[in-house]
Assembly symmetry: C2
Homo-oligomer: 160 residues x 2
């Protein structure tokens, strides 16, 4: 399995979500190297205008683009992205070495999402659901899906 990096905007305040991510990352580390990069979340003013949100996303977006490893396969998590089953997701990751990639980078935005510039730079826009999740729950879901993909590709049992 390729190495993984999760770039996320903002940290996880809730202990239970942080513990869940840590547990799945521990399991993933049996299959590949996984690391995460935190981009500091910009505090928006109260009741921000569309222009203020757009500016905030651009600022966060610049930092995200600067933190991207070179030659990685970039996956943006966004509601309007492509939907796929866990098996298809595992297949996408498994095919990366054949496409010349040794690393997959996942990008999770803040509660306002991701800037268009970041989405354009990505090789894949992935949608988990039509529903909106808080980004800290999204990190748990992503970590669980990466772990699941590792077990699917390795043909090993999913540890419940």
């Amino acid at each position: 399995m390729v190495n993984m990096t999760v770039i996320h905007v903002g940290n996880i305040k809730d202990r239970f979500f942080a513990d869940a991510v840590a547990e799945y990352e521990k399991r993933i580390s049996g299959f590949c190297r996984i690391k995460s990069i935190e981009i500091k979340e910009k505090r928006p003013p109260e009741s921000p205008s569309d222009a203020q949100i757009s500016q905030l996303l651009d600022q966060e977006g610049e930092k995200i683009l600067l933190s991207l490893p070179r030659d990685c396969y970039k996956i943006a998590l966004c509601v309007e992205g492509k939907k796929m089953s866990s098996e298809k997701f595992a297949d996408v990751l498994q095919q990366l070495p054949h496409k010349g990639f040794s690393e997959a980078v996942f990008i999770i935005g803040s509660s306002y999402g991701l800037s268009p510039k970041v989405k354009e730079k990505c090789d894949l826009r992935l949608s988990v659901s039509d529903m909106t999740f808080p980004h800290r729950l999204m990190r748990v879901i992503l970590a669980e899906q990466i772990y699941r993909a590792c077990t699917i590709c390795a043909g090993t049992e999913y540890h419940k």
Copy 2:
């Protein structure tokens, strides 16, 4: 907001998922009554056949059907169900009193899913994602979406 019941097969072993569900249920209780009913998970034999899985689901299904409150709106969580945004989901719940329902019941199966009989009995089959999640993570996602729906319907701020 109508009252809510979550019927789930099996319990949550992981402390972090149990804590996450408890936190969202606490928040939901500010809007409506929420309770959960646990159906004991049947242990399948090792490498179960399709017939054995089907029998197991039927047995769990009978218990689920017996535990259903009367005159409730029944929602089965299943991957092949209907997809919707968080706003649409909130709208479905908000419309229930106008359809004569004062309670919504959500049913989450075990890792083998739900029996066809249970799905047929439901008013709505709801799919959160094309991806497969462990049922304990599904409980967290559902609790978060119910809380989100409560804030959408009440027009109050989502507490991050």
